[in-house]
Symmetry: C2
Subunit: 313 residues, 2 copies
């Protein structure tokens, strides 16, 4: 009978690995390096080896292993196929088939942002809900949509690519994706820093932020908490973009809860309050009950979500 499963979070520099009991208990965590040289040819064999080593070390029999879940930095289709993963130097491949071949264990793969969202639904900020939107406010803006406890993968593996929703058709600067006016340009850590730079340049108003050489998103929220007027304007602008976009997303997916994660979410309750206020301003009546929460699993969201991929299969 199955007693164990593995949750793997494959990143561009490290692979986070975790052994779970099938009741959801995290038994052990470890990391290995991601070797991206030679088109990342060692990555999957390295993962297979560390899993098989762990099975041996723990005296686990193969029959006791239910499966391997893995989150990958790229679009993963429903059949386990990945068209490409730039950070891993990978072209098209089927991760599920390859890793099954290397380990003899069934594999379920998903996009890393989606898998982290699944983890937060299972054991994090969205615990207890079955329908969730997670937005990760980091260097970029990532997203994951969970519908009835399952990841919304979409037809092209682009389900939940919330950072690239157009929120400002008037924008003149291009996003990394090539389009102009993407949510990511205003709601990521980088985006908030950009809004701050623009605000500082377009006025001579005194502000705590003028003491910094380069202003970060953290600086903005710190100054906001000190009642700095300019920081308030910046947070207002950021919240307007994000809260309005979330209200639109809610008309599509109608989640029970919206979870905010990533570096920017360290701003905590202040962030939730600002964004929720703007969400309420624009939300359709049936969606006004939607809850808001902060992500709680941090870097572990990926391994939890990966394990859940297997357990909810």
């Amino acid at each position: 009978m199955s007693k164990y499963c593995f949750g793997i979070d494959l990143g561009g520099t490290t692979v986070k690995c975790a052994l779970f009991l099938t009741d959801g208990t995290l038994e052990e965590k470890w990391e290995i390096k991601t070797h991206t040289e030679n088109n990342g040819e060692r990555i999957l064999p390295d993962i297979a080896k560390t899993i098989l080593d762990k099975i041996k070390e723990k005296n686990i029999s193969m029959e006791e292993v239910m499966g391997i879940g893995i989150g990958v930095p790229g679009p993963v289709r429903e059949n386990g196929e990945l068209p490409c993963a730039v950070n891993l130097h990978w072209g098209r491949k089927n991760i599920e088939e390859e890793l099954l071949e290397l380990t003899g264990i069934p594999v379920k793969a998903g996009n890393d942002a989606n898998v982290a969202a699944l983890g937060e639904m299972w054991k994090g900020g969205g615990q207890g809900s079955r329908n969730m939107i997670m937005v990760t406010l980091g260097t970029g803006v990532g997203g994951g949509i969970i519908i009835n406890e399952k990841i919304l993968t979409g037809a092209h593996g682009a389900g939940g690519e919330l950072g690239h929703a157009c929120v400002n058709a008037e924008e003149t600067v291009a996003c990394n994706c090539g389009n102009k006016g993407c949510l990511e340009q205003y709601a990521s850590a980088t985006g908030i820093a950009r809004l701050a730079k623009q605000a500082l340049e377009s006025s001579t108003e005194e502000s705590l932020l003028r003491k910094k050489e380069t202003v970060t998103a953290k600086d903005v929220f710190d100054a906001y908490k000190e009642q700095d007027a300019l920081a308030k304007d910046i947070v207002e602008e950021f919240s307007e973009y994000l809260g309005k976009a979330l209200a639109v997303f809610a008309c599509v997916a109608d989640p029970e809860i919206i979870v905010l994660g990533g570096g920017v979410s360290k701003a905590g309750q202040a962030l939730l309050d600002c964004v929720e206020k703007k969400f309420q301003k624009y939300a359709f009546s049936s969606c006004k009950e939607t809850g808001f929460a902060l992500a709680t699993l941090g870097n572990d969201a990926g391994v939890y979500g990966a394990a859940k991929l297997v357990l909810s299969k």
Copy 2:
């Protein structure tokens, strides 16, 4: 063994009924009146009677009936509960349980716009796809999201309420829902007529539309097809709102195909071309392959989708 199922499309004035073979063949269609008086207390008993009469008339045994699917004009939760249906004069009720009790046949209920979308996926404009966004451009703007052949119901039965996504935060006129700047205010037949009125009032430009006492959405598209310059501006404005909104929705749900239905969709290929062009302008790279199609089932979409609710259970 099951050989039959019923598809019911419950509207405010008539109930469309259909008997299907479980292989998907529509065997027979008929209608009964919707009696909304006394809080609509007769509606479900009338539906039960017409179904049981049909079973008797056709000499069908109860074992041969797989189930009843029903689309209802209101938000239906996953458990079959309906908080209210204004047009039927209904308060809270569980349709699935009540109709099962009246007929002895298992029932699956869904929101009418969502059920129509499921019908279009199964036998209409979205045939062959498993992930679809349908937008119904009628008096209002309705929507339905299909993910892996299932309706996205959402936590509050508001999944796919696309007409109430905010697309213009600067709007001063209120939508029927109470918010301002909803997609419905620009992309419904009523919305297009409003855009036309504004365009005619704000210029003295000659136009075929000036010959009409009241300009309808159909008039606008007819004049557009005649190369009328003012009509082109109106269609451009409408398409910008709708195409951009669809590109945002695609970042959430990543459909294989977007199907346009409702009265406005009678404008045909011209409508598809304008909207798709704007969609392409704003779509995230991974979503640019998304197809566009017109709805094909017309008023039958509801009974088809209702039958599919049962067949894909």
